[in-house]
């Protein structure tokens, strides 16, 4: 690395740094690899999509919730539409479940009417208010106490980290580089270039995109760019092993505090309850603990929407942080060849492809970047045995018998899938979990963890003691029995 002086007349590709391998950074990186540029991604954590991207509701919002003339409104419904093609190219799953916003009284019905109006201004298609009976027909387990519901068939669910994984894999396939476990500490302008000081040394780039999630404000500030300060908004969740209890994403009527606590089917056929909406201090950007108060609030509110919820089916609880600011809108700040994307709170996931498209489009035009003719848009997914027909299963097993050996009994994940996940970049147990859904099920890994560690030992050549759950100090075992 470092500054390279080129002989006069020779053209070198521009170097672009993307800071943050969350969903926004990943999609921007992938978008840039369509052009003749050098793309390098910097990620503080050991894997992609492990920050804000990992712990949110995983919803493709329709776009009725966002006040017109905000960036949220500009990008949400457009991003939602873009996901169809994106999911086909990158081979991640989305499910257009539709969503219902439930009103429990006339005052809330008034709010639904406002949301309907807002949705029309924002260009949201097929939005309508349903009577109590029609809503219950779509969602039989919804509380009988509702009086009406706003229905959007275009809302959906996905696993956000899968999008980040897929986009990064595709970007790497198209020539990008990634620096994992590499924290960018500051950005300095240095003539025409930018100097990134990182935990792994200094790097020079022509263009810098700051998509550092919760830390995007601090990083912008290090470059002398003023943006709205961020504080984390914590969302606590409960994941239930209770499939098909709801079919659509169920919202209560929103209030000033936000969209409220939802009940939704996940892409993995579990049921998710949450999130809370707790504003933490700006210094609490790593406070992802759950609390007794938070979890009991989730239970209370979720049961109001869906009384049938069965908590004895709890898989686990978790909490995530969303990057929030005082103006409650995304901030996209341009400063010569540096772009800071700040406060990509909800609906940041839905908006991500549209934001990525616009930002890359802008730079492409400004710097007159040329398209590559060998860009491969398709990313091959890790095969998923459980979703295949018997014929497909037989064919794959005959080519590679390890696809017939089930390792994770809860979600029927095979050895072949785990090996493939390692080849796709998994280096930790969570890396395997978030690529295959092994250890995601009702035993939470108590049956399959040892087998997975043995596969990792064989494939990566690590000792048992070196294998970690996620972060460097999260080892599983501590030494040999005497």
């Amino acid at each position: 690395m470092g500054c390279v002086f080129l002989p006069f007349g020779e053209v070198n590709d521009l170097k672009i740094a993307i800071i943050g391998a969350g969903i926004i950074g990943s999609l921007i990186a992938r978008e840039f690899t369509k052009y003749k540029v050098e793309v390098e991604i910097f990620e503080k954590l050991p894997d992609v999509g492990w920050g804000v991207t990992k712990a949110n509701s995983g919803i493709l919002h329709a776009g009725y919730d966002d006040e017109p003339n905000t960036l949220r409104a500009k990008y949400c419904s457009r991003g939602n539409e873009m996901y169809t093609e994106l999911s086909e190219e990158l081979n991640f799953k989305i499910k257009r479940t539709g969503s219902l916003v439930a009103a429990f009284n006339d005052k809330e019905v008034k709010i639904l009417e406002e949301l309907l109006k807002r949705g029309k201004i924002n260009g949201v298609k097929d939005l309508r208010i349903l009577s109590r009976l029609s809503a219950l027909e779509i969602e039989p387990n919804l509380s009988r106490e509702i009086v009406a519901a706003l229905y959007s068939p275009n809302a959906g669910v996905l696993a956000p980290w899968e999008v980040a994984q897929a986009a990064v894999e595709n970007a790497l396939n198209n020539g990008a580089k990634i620096h994992l476990s590499t924290k960018v500490e500051s950005i300095f302008e240095e003539g025409e270039k930018y100097r990134l000081r990182t935990s792994k040394g200094i790097f020079l780039f022509d263009v810098v995109v700051n998509a550092a999630g919760l830390w995007a404000d601090e990083l912008a500030e290090s470059a002398g760019v003023k943006v709205t300060p961020l504080h984390p908004r914590r969302g606590q969740y409960i994941l239930l092993d209770q499939p098909n209890v709801v079919r659509t994403v169920l919202f209560p009527t929103p209030s000033r505090a936000g969209k409220g606590i939802l009940v939704l089917p996940t892409i993995h056929n579990t049921t998710l309850l949450g999130p809370t909406s707790e504003d933490l201090l700006p210094i609490e950007k790593e406070v992802t603990e759950t609390t007794a108060e938070g979890l009991s609030k989730v239970v209370k509110k979720a049961k109001k929407l869906v009384p049938l919820i069965n908590l004895s089916k709890t898989l686990r609880t978790f909490a995530g942080l969303r990057p929030e600011n005082d103006i409650k809108d995304f901030v996209i700040k341009r400063e010569s060849n540096m772009i800071h994307i700040v406060a990509t709170r909800s609906p940041g996931l839905t908006a991500a492809p549209a934001i990525a498209g616009d930002i890359v489009g802008e730079i492409v035009e400004k710097l007159n970047l040329q398209k590559k003719d060998d860009f491969h848009p398709i990313r091959k997914a890790i095969p998923k045995i459980v979703d295949m027909s018997d014929e497909e299963k037989e064919k794959l097993i005959s080519q590679n018998p390890s696809y017939g050996k089930v390792i994770c009994r809860c979600n029927k994940v095979t050895e072949g899938e785990i090996v493939e996940a390692i080849r796709h970049g998994a280096r930790t147990l969570d890396g395997v979990k978030f690529r295959t859904t092994a250890m995601f099920g009702r035993c939470q890994g108590s049956f399959c963890m040892v087998k997975i560690m043995n596969i990792m030992r064989r494939e990566i050549g690590e000792n048992f003691e070196e294998i970690v759950k996620n972060f460097p100090n999260s080892h599983i075992v501590d030494g040999v029995v005497r």
Partner: protein, 407 residues
């Protein structure tokens, strides 16, 4: 797709499944075992402590010894190892199985479910705090220590006083891990008294009743927990105490494993397969035995249950006419679990029950008749008795109850 056909197919090769193999072979049936792991034995393989075999072999054995000795009795069955059932179609009597050699469709005359139980993971308890590594179910910790030769950590606490938790408290102590204590949310122990004495008292490991975890600490690896006193399942504020530890072993309940069949057969409120005295489920040619019926204390009982299930499955597969159910058992006052839900009232059979709270002296009753007096009855200790249809009226609705009496 390969097709196979057997009289009796047995799902799971642990103690109950091996018993079923023996039972079915004794009736000259063709037998196929479908087992997820690479060998028979199930959890016996990692239970290197003793206490097995007192009933079946009349001596005290370790788990692996019990497995090997019983396996020697089994000759002439087929088995698929590292094979997983994907689907059961009870209408067409077909199983779909996946293994490294492909997808199999297997037709059965009768099926025996011997799938055992799984542990409730700590995560299911919704304890607030962080989500670090260092949290294990007792069975997973046992697997690491006994089969992989690895220590889970250096200082541990055990949550829940189920038998595997108690046994792991001793096992870890023997391997040099500091076990700070065992914490039980209920006011009474969850495991056998034998284990409380031999695993805790003999090693000076304290058992804290009515106490459990209210918070988990540590971002990457576990750094400690906050425990508190509990009354009626709720933490008492002001009683919190921090304990530094890098390992948490959870022994907080076993759940009968019936996920494959919970839409095919009747399941009890405690999650077990509902069976009659022939170990027959609500589907005439599907039998069940072992921990997927109800959680047992002793492997010997599981073996015996499996043998009965295997024999009766073979009889059904050979088109023998089986008796109908004539009596239904109801849980009355004082009873939490019953192993058998229906009876054909044809032969004497074993019934196992658990009381719903500790009783100094419990009188077990069948309808209005006293059956048995049990001193020091505890929910953690199964009560075993034989019901003989020539002695008791076992037709219609039969209530089993336990009444507390003064000594």
């Amino acid at each position: 797709m390969k097709r196979l056909e057997y009289d009796v197919v047995i799902l799971g090769g642990g103690a109950a499944g091996m018993g079923a193999i023996r039972g079915a072979l004794s009736q000259n049936a063709s037998v196929l075992l479908v087992e997820r792991e690479a060998s028979t034995g199930g959890v016996l393989n990692q239970c290197i402590h003793n206490g097995f075999g007192v009933r079946v072999f009349k001596k005290e054995l370790t788990g692996p010894e019990y497995h090997e000795m019983y396996l020697e009795k089994l000759k002439g069955f087929d088995a698929m190892y590292e094979a997983t059932v994907l689907d059961i179609d009870s209408e067409s009597r077909l199983l779909k199985v996946i293994s490294a050699s492909g997808i199999y469709k297997i037709r059965y005359g009768a099926l025996v479910l011997a799938t055992g139980a799984r542990e409730r993971p700590f995560e299911a308890l919704r304890v607030p705090g962080s989500r670090p590594s260092g949290i294990f179910t007792a069975g997973l910790a046992q697997h690491f220590v006994n089969l992989e030769n690895r220590l889970p950590g250096r200082k541990a606490i055990v949550i829940g006083s189920g038998d595997i938790g108690l046994i792991m408290a001793r096992r870890l102590t023997l391997e040099g891990v500091e076990v700070e204590g065992v914490y039980e949310i209920m006011p009474y122990q969850g495991g056998l008294t034998r284990n409380v004495v031999q695993c805790l008292k003999d090693f000076n490991i304290p058992l804290h009743l009515s106490t459990s975890v209210v918070k988990v600490h540590g971002k990457e690896r576990l750094e400690g927990v906050t425990v508190a006193k509990f009354i009626d399942g709720n933490p008492v504020s002001g009683t919190e105490r921090f304990i530094g530890c890098d390992t948490l072993i959870a022994s907080v309940g076993l759940i009968p494993e019936n996920d494959l069949v919970d839409k095919e057969i009747e399941i009890s409120s405690s999650g077990g397969a509902v069976v009659d005295d022939l170990m027959r489920t609500s589907v005439d040619n599907i039998f069940a035995a072992g921990n997927n019926v109800c959680i047992h204390d002793l492997v010997d009982f599981v073996t015996v249950e499996g043998e009965g299930a295997g024999q009766n499955a073979a009889r059904v597969a050979k088109k023998e006419k089986m008796p109908k159910r004539v009596g239904i058992f109801k849980k009355g006052k004082g009873i939490r679990v019953i192993s058998i839900h229906y009876t054909t009232a044809t032969i004497p059979f074993k019934m196992y029950v658990r009381v719903d709270h500790p009783m100094d002296m419990a009188i077990l009753r069948i309808n209005d008749t006293n059956l048995k007096t049990v001193l020091n009855a505890k929910p953690s200790e199964m009560i075993e008795f034989t019901l003989d249809p020539t002695k008791y009226n076992l037709k219609g609705e039969i209530e089993l109850s336990a009444v507390e009496a003064k000594r």
